[in-house]
Symmetry: C2
Subunit: 77 residues, 2 copies
């Protein structure tokens, strides 16, 4: 599954639970079955590269979840 269509920074975070990220490998992504249990997200990147290094993708996801996301939730409440 390489069909993540919602950019990470535009995702509307649910307020009911802390997020969990599941990452697939850089070439093929996750098995399509995972789509049933979550929302596919994509970290936008240059078309000049095939994918982000996995450790980089994890770092950006955790950064977003721990900084930008709480900031957005604060602004909404």
């Amino acid at each position: 599954m390489l069909t993540g269509s919602i950019p990470l920074h535009q995702f509307q975070w649910p307020k009911i639970a802390p997020p969990a990220f599941i990452f697939g490998n850089e070439a093929s992504g996750l098995d399509a079955d995972f789509e049933k249990i979550g929302t596919p997200l994509i970290i936008p990147h240059s078309s000049h590269i095939d994918s982000l290094n996995l450790s980089i993708a994890v770092s950006i996801g955790l950064y977003h979840a721990n900084t930008v996301r709480p900031h957005e939730l604060d602004e909404e409440s």
Copy 2:
């Protein structure tokens, strides 16, 4: 200089120019002279680690500058 006091995700981006990031090394940061030409920023992280790996910090900075920042500028305009 390890005195970055504004969290990256809370920085008010100037609209007059695209940003440029300058990174120092993980142990001592940049020379204090750099404070004269820019705004020291910090990427918040757990107190259980000393610093972020430099490639991770660069990735998060570029992610933020290319996704979250334009998004914020759009909302303001």
